[in-house]
């Protein structure tokens, strides 16, 4: 909503470097819940790049891994009792 633009709406600054690029990640396993839990919000949604600062390539890997983890009931699809 353009109404709010430039007003007191708060925002979090996006990290300047992709956290996965910093670690030189080449593959992301869906069983690696320590990492995946940080990529979803309390609703169970995948957190957007604008908040996490993840680069496009790694965001795709995150998306695939989270969806696989959901299929195998490691993560919930919604605001569930994940972990």
């Amino acid at each position: 909503m353009a109404f709010y633009r430039g007003s007191s709406r708060s925002y979090n600054k996006r990290p300047s470097v992709c956290q996965f690029c910093a670690e030189k990640v080449t593959q992301l396993d869906y069983k690696n819940l320590d990492i995946l839990v940080r990529q979803i919000d309390p609703e169970g949604k995948i957190r957007p790049r604008r908040r996490t600062g993840t680069c496009a390539r790694h965001q795709r890997m995150v998306a695939v891994a989270v969806k696989r983890a959901r299929h195998m009931a490691l993560l919930a699809f919604d605001r569930g009792s994940w972990i």
Binding site: E23, V25, T26, N32, I35, R38, M72, A73, A76
Partner: protein, 149 residues
């Protein structure tokens, strides 16, 4: 022959006798379709994030195997018919360097050819029942949950 990961959630109602049988059955399917199991990753009983077939828990196990092009389809047919398999997933996947070092696979390099050959025969010895691998990756450890409220 491509490398796959065959991940399975087995029913928690299987007892000590039928559980090994079930595993053997699945391994039999793999080998009968011309596949070869390279590595077993057994996570054991675990609470699921949501109920499947009214079950709260499931027995997690996955095999890394090389399958012929028709292998995944055949496996899928068999698995769909079995009631003891709550959920399964067959994905293309390279074999991890070592199951114990799964947490450090975050910075794994992709040249895994040599370690596989050495660990290929030990299928039973991979008993990693710690489901959540805990190894701190320093720069990844900063929690971002706080921002997302």
């Amino acid at each position: 022959m491509k490398n796959y990961e065959i991940a399975v959630i087995l029913s928690p109602d299987l007892d000590d006798k039928s559980l090994p049988d079930m595993k053997e059955t699945i391994k039999g399917w793999v080998s009968s379709s011309g596949g070869e199991i390279v590595l077993t990753d057994e996570r054991g009983m675990r609470k699921m994030a949501y109920h499947i077939k009214k079950k709260r828990e499931g027995y997690y196990i996955s095999w890394y195997a090389s399958l012929s092009p028709s292998g995944p389809a055949e496996l899928e047919q068999q698995m769909r018919l079995n009631e003891n398999i709550l959920r399964f997933m067959i994905i293309k996947s390279d074999v991890p360097v070592q199951v114990e070092e799964k947490s450090s696979s975050i910075d794994s390099d992709s040249n895994v050819a040599e370690p596989i050959a050495s660990t290929s025969t030990l299928e039973e010895s991979t008993e990693s029942d710690e489901v959540s691998d805990t190894s701190p990756d320093q720069s990844l450890d900063e929690k971002h949950e706080g921002e997302s409220s």
